[in-house]
């Protein structure tokens, strides 16, 4: 019965995402980004015709990461602003009243929403990301070393953010939950950069800012892992270990421990959301 409810609500959530304007705006934004990047990559090749193939790859993989960051940002904004209205909005408007008085458990409804959103957000990241990889391949003939790992990590990053959005939407208003989730996403990214500066300057306490923020909200950590999977190993060798990392350059792949933590984090936040939703008066 619980699995049945989860599947019904997940398909309803996908249905909602498909019929709401958010999908169309998301698709339009993505097409614009992909078209711009296709143009940019083709110019890269034309303007710097004198680049060696190695240099072209280095440039290609760096710009690829920039565009992928844009894509992950679109996915984050899209899903965070979808996660809020789907729960808090339904409670506010009264749509939840008739659903929750069916013989269903609230946790099952929440899990269904989560599953639907993960499928939607993850699906978007994988399809748009794959399209981007194909564009890069066609324009500068660069193919990342571990495309599947990179795309999966981006999908997990989206899942982490929307889980947070869902938790927030069990307690605060729809718009506020979207804004807070995206704000935290941005803050962790900035904290990650501060951490890098700390590392570069050899200041341990500043460097710790990045580490701690990556533990509190694993989106930035997962993003760095995805970047690493998209980068040309030649680039990493070229940069060497002197300059260390940059916001769009990641030296090391993610550890299994960190991946496990990210999984645990998502499960924990989802459980918290279920508890908070269970206790809420509708």
């Amino acid at each position: 019965m619980i699995a049945r409810t989860v599947l019904i609500v997940a398909s309803l959530t996908l249905h909602e995402a498909a019929r709401r304007r958010v999908l169309r705006s998301l698709a339009a934004l993505t097409v614009v980004l992909l078209a711009l990047s296709a143009w940019g990559f083709s110019r890269l090749d034309a303007e710097f015709g004198g680049l060696t193939s190695g240099e072209a790859k280095v440039a290609g993989s760096t710009v690829l990461n920039l565009v992928m960051f844009g894509l992950s940002l679109i996915a984050a904004l899209g899903t965070a602003f979808l996660a809020g209205p789907t729960l808090a909005g339904e409670v506010e408007s009264g749509i939840a009243l008739s659903i929750m008085t069916r013989p269903v458990r609230r946790a099952a409804v929440l899990a269904g929403k989560w599953l639907g959103l993960v499928m939607f957000g993850g699906g978007f990241v994988v399809i748009a990301g794959l399209a981007q990889l194909v564009i890069v391949r066609a324009t500068v003939d660069y193919w990342p070393p571990r495309p599947v790992t990179g795309l999966v990590l981006l999908a997990v990053q989206t899942a982490a953010l929307l889980t947070l959005g869902l938790l927030l939407s069990t307690a605060i208003s729809p718009m506020a939950s979207g804004i807070v989730a995206v704000g935290l996403f941005g803050a962790t990214w900035v904290a990650g950069i501060i951490g890098l500066v700390g590392e570069a300057l050899g200041n341990d306490s500043v460097a710790r800012v990045g580490t701690i923020s990556r533990m509190l909200l694993p989106t930035d950590g997962l993003w760095r892992g995805a970047m690493n999977a998209f980068q040309d190993p030649a680039l990493l060798r070229q940069v060497g270990s002197g300059i260390e990392e940059s916001p769009f350059l990641s030296m090391a792949p993610l550890t299994t421990t960190y991946l496990a933590w990210a999984g645990l984090w998502i499960a924990g936040v989802l459980a918290l959301a279920a508890m908070s939703f269970h206790r809420r008066d509708l």
């Binding site: 249905h15 408007s93 749509i95 009243l97 008739s98 008085t101 013989p103 008066d281």
Partner: protein, 323 residues
């Protein structure tokens, strides 16, 4: 257990009357410092239509939400169709039209019904779902998105949602708030047909006339408590006598007051008659009044309406509970 005793137990169980559709005991709910519901208990029998009445803020909607598991009570127990209210399965055969009715605007009316049928794990063929929409007057709008519906049409859809899974209990919270007079008449017919089909109904409505016409029993809530409850004859059983008199002396007034509680407005007198019917009361009173020199212009026996009774209970703050 022997086969014989098992058979006896089975027979005993089948002979038992089915559990009431709703059984609530000692419901209590406090929102911060405000007590919304304070020790509310009532039952709705199988196939019974019960009206929930009371002024704004009396706690009617909160009681309904506690019953349906939408609001967690601070204390009290709920049984729906014989199962504990905490168990979601208790709501399998319950239909609900909320006061705040909204349905997924991106779905069509037919899709909303299909969704609710799936959520209730019921099997309702498409033809029956269409019939359900036709019953509430939405047959030709089945394929239209709910986003384009007027408030009245959404409330009609809400009625269809409440009825689609062949419920044994239907809870309607202000079901006619957005409907025109024609729609209200439709709802009244619908309630009567539910009554015929032995579906229990809990009806919260401000339209006392509707309640009086369709309900078997009424529960009156005031400030979170049950102010009065009972069948309509129990609550309205009190009769009164309206008289228009002049030349009423002190002795005549005394005679009137001896019959029952007396109220006077100019030459109009109202005497509350005793509950037990006595054919001699009115003629004796009139004869005595005439003998005392009173000129009698009009004598009209009347039964008080539910509205008058409700106002009486709410104003005086004491309702003799008749259960």
């Amino acid at each position: 257990m022997t086969a014989e005793s098992a058979e006896r137990a089975r027979r005993l169980l089948t002979d038992l009357a089915p559990a009431p559709a709703v059984w609530c005991s000692g419901l209590r709910k406090r929102y911060r410092r405000q007590v919304a519901v304070d020790g509310v208990s009532f039952t709705v029998g199988r196939g019974e239509v019960v009206g929930l009445l009371g002024p704004n803020g009396a706690g009617k909607t909160t009681v309904i939400k506690i019953m349906l598991g939408l609001v967690r009570p601070d204390a009290g127990e709920v049984l729906l169709l014989g199962r504990p209210g905490r168990d979601p399965a208790a709501r399998a055969r319950v239909g609900y039209l909320p006061e705040l009715f909204r349905y997924q605007p991106w779905l069509t009316a037919a899709e909303v019904l299909a969704l609710h049928v799936r959520l209730a794990a019921a099997t309702v063929p498409a033809a029956e779902r269409r019939e359900c929409l036709a019953l509430v007057g939405l047959a030709d709008r089945a394929g239209d998105r709910v986003g384009g519906f007027s408030k009245g049409m959404q409330q009609r859809l809400g009625l269809a949602v409440a009825l689609v899974c062949r419920p044994e209990l239907v809870v309607l919270d202000e079901p006619t708030s957005a409907l025109d007079p024609l729609g209200r008449a439709d709802v009244r017919d619908l309630l009567l047909s539910l009554k015929d089909r032995q579906v229990a109904v809990l009806l919260n409505s401000h339209l006392i006339g509707e309640v009086e016409r369709v309900c078997d029993r009424v529960v009156i809530l005031d400030r979170g408590r049950v102010a009065a409850a009972g069948t309509l004859p129990e609550l309205l059983g009190r009769r009164e006598l309206r008289l228009r008199l002049d030349g009423v002396t002190a002795a005549a007034a005394e005679r009137l007051a001896a019959t029952g509680r007396l109220t006077r407005a100019g030459d109009a007198f109202t005497v509350r008659l005793p509950a037990e019917e006595d054919a001699a009361t009115v003629p004796d009173l009139v004869a005595d009044l005439v003998r005392l020199g009173v000129r009698v212009h009009a004598v009209e026996p009347a039964r008080i309406s539910l509205e008058e009774r409700l106002l009486d209970i709410l104003r005086t703050g004491h309702g003799e509970e008749a259960r």
